[in-house]
């Protein structure tokens, strides 16, 4: 009897949600934030979106997963705004948010020190790992973009980032984690 390929089996709702989190968590939060103008609220909206995904028929949602997620996310974000009767207050809130984002000099200094510390640990990695990590997290590049920038294959990029992150987990002091 031939061995059945794992991915040939029908995807369960749990697996679909796990994959959806992996692939769309960050883009969805970014999208929700453009509507609700607040990161925490955007996270709540996306959390709720993934919970709703559990209630769907996997077979029906799977082929249009991205479209389903962004539609539900948008509707949920608008619901949040409506519920809180905040539509007319959005502009004020943006102003408030900007005001509350003003940091004290002490906070800025502490953050700068923290960034410098993390960078010093990245610098201790082998050069190719450090480069891949910086491009990924500082520049926000995808594996594909890093591949184009460095001339490495995406497989090599994945390996360097995997190894570099693992090394960082082992070496970063607890107060930085």
């Amino acid at each position: 009897m031939g061995e059945k390929n794992d991915t040939d089996m029908a995807e369960t709702s749990s697996e679909l949600v796990e994959r959806a989190i992996s692939e769309f968590e960050s883009p969805l939060i970014g999208y929700a934030k453009t509507i609700v103008h607040d990161l925490d609220r955007a996270r709540d909206v996306v959390q709720d979106t993934f919970i709703r995904l559990y209630q769907q028929d996997v077979g029906k949602v799977n082929s249009g997963l991205k479209s389903w997620l962004f539609t539900v996310c948008r509707n949920r974000a608008l619901d949040v705004l409506r519920k809180e009767k905040r539509m007319v207050l959005v502009e004020d809130e943006i102003l408030d948010a900007n005001a509350s984002n003003i940091k004290s000099p002490a906070t800025i200094t502490a953050e700068q020190e923290r960034v410098a510390m993390v960078k010093s640990y990245i610098a201790r990695l082998p050069e190719n790992q450090a480069t891949a990590i910086i491009l990924k997290f500082e520049k926000g590049y995808s594996y594909q973009q890093i591949s184009e920038e460095t001339g490495l294959t995406t497989g090599n990029v994945g390996f360097l980032i995997h190894t570099g992150m693992k090394r960082l987990r082992e070496t970063l002091p607890e107060n930085l984690k």
Binding site: E15, E23, K119
Partner: protein, 450 residues
């Protein structure tokens, strides 16, 4: 296919870089292999750190708690306090100590289900085949069967230890399997749960002290059963299906941090009882510390100059000792939220209770009267957990319920929604809807004289 824990695709998956069949393959591994899931979580944490520092911006990722809430909505528990994915499963100290007993005894459970009378050893791997474990073992309640200073594991039977160990290491798939079976079984089979007897009050009078255990485990049967009865049948579940500790611990709570010791970490909080002016509620949220260490008992000692009597809410004992397949001992992979009810006899400034983790003197924390809060100003976690508890009490027609009735519960639920509406997670919002429906059903039942 088993995924190598060092497979770079795990990192790519955690960073959202994997698509197509490879993403499906890793997603499948995340659901079935605890080591892979822990590796993904670790990578996400490191990614959040890097985004938040060298990335210079806010982290566009869900928090660990939010991801756990999403997983829980799919019928599984959280992945908390798991030992590092880098450590081989069988090398973990706890498993080495009890592994043999676990394997043999789970083998017995499995063969019992299959009707065989052999004690063959079953090869159990992480991501165990819970489908082979009999329903009565999956749905066993955790039973607290000690008082005073005897740690629970000293009285633990081998069979109970095995299940507790298995659940501890494989909480996710245990819950997944249990929820799946509950959703598939016919209603008649679901009613075959052992009858329970609620915890007695422990009196201070005539005793030199009053110390109760802090249970570190809960089963997972009650909430999915409650959901099924109420949403599918618009009916109240049988009393034997209502286990307060399982209802409370279906949900996630803020990670405890107030007290550490003996490999445990815990928070403690005191507030008035919103349905009984004569009593107070003491909540203890306990979990394992970063890494699992030797098992230790945790206790709450009540000051008998202040407290006349106290009881655990939930953790009912079995009425029949013949059906004694209950899980004793602990499963610390899932933090446990425990609520005690106490009656005060004094009104001095003396302490009310002391939480003790293990035997270390330093690992204790004492609560004084001035730390007591009103229910309305207590933490959101305590407000929520106590409301779930009140629902469980109402559904089991508990004794000493004070002024608790459906109307009072509906008021509490309304207050909770009003006060916490902006911060309630989706999981808790759904729960409030279900609890409200339960209260309404009790109300109708009471009015019709059923």
């Amino acid at each position: 296919m088993k995924i190598d824990i060092n497979d770079p695709r795990i990192t790519a998956f955690a960073l959202g870089e994997l698509t197509g069949s490879e993403a499906i393959e890793i997603a499948r591994a995340v659901r079935s292999d605890l080591r892979v899931r822990a590796a993904v979580e670790e990578t996400r944490e490191t990614a959040a750190l890097l985004h938040g520092s060298v990335g210079g911006g806010q982290v566009g990722l869900l928090t660990t708690e939010q991801r756990e809430a999403v997983h829980s909505a799919g019928g599984e528990g959280p992945l908390t306090q798991l030992t590092s994915a880098e450590v081989s499963f069988w090398r973990r100290p706890v498993i080495v100590a009890i592994g043999a007993a676990a394997i043999v005894t789970l083998g017995v459970f499995i063969t019992q289900k299959n009707g065989r009378d052999t004690r063959e050893v079953v090869d159990i791997e992480p991501g165990w085949d819970w489908s082979a474990v009999a329903m009565e073992n999956l749905t066993s309640p955790v039973v607290v069967d000690y008082t005073g200073d005897k740690p629970p594991h000293a009285q633990t039977e081998a069979s109970a230890t095995a299940v507790a160990a298995a659940i501890r290491e494989d909480t996710v798939s245990f819950r997944e399997e249990l929820h799946k079976r509950i959703s598939e079984q016919d209603a008649e089979a679901l009613q075959k749960l052992p009858e329970l007897k609620e915890q007695d009050w422990h009196e201070a009078q005539g005793n030199s002290g009053l110390t109760l255990p802090v249970p570190q485990a809960s089963g997972a049967t009650s909430w999915p059963l409650l959901q099924r009865y109420i949403t599918e049948n618009s009916a109240l579940p049988p009393i034997s299906a209502v286990r307060i500790e399982e209802m409370v611990n279906h949900f996630h709570y803020k990670t405890p941090s107030m007290l550490r010791g003996a490999g445990l970490v815990a928070d403690i909080e005191l507030c008035n009882t919103p349905w009984n002016p004569a009593t107070m509620l003491l909540a203890v949220h306990i979990s394992s510390d970063v890494k699992l260490t030797a098992e230790a008992a945790a206790t709450v000692s009540f000051n008998i100059q202040q407290v006349s009597r106290a009881r655990l809410l939930g953790y009912s004992s079995l009425k029949s000792s013949a059906t004694n397949s209950s899980i004793r001992g602990m499963s610390r992979s899932h933090g446990n939220y425990v609520i005690y009810e106490l009656e005060l006899s004094g009104d001095s400034d003396l302490s009310i209770a002391t939480l003790q983790l293990g035997d270390e003197v330093a690992a204790s924390l004492t609560v004084y009267p001035d730390q007591a809060k009103s229910w309305f100003t207590s933490s959101a976690d305590l407000r929520f957990a106590s409301t779930v508890t009140a629902t469980g009490m109402l559904l089991t027609t508990t004794t000493s319920a004070g002024e608790l009735d459906a109307s009072r519960l509906l008021s509490l639920l309304g207050l909770l929604e009003e006060k916490d509406k902006s911060t309630l997670s989706g999981e808790r919002r759904h729960a409030l809807t279900l609890l409200t429906r339960a209260a309404e059903l009790v109300d109708v039942s009471t009015r019709s004289g059923d």
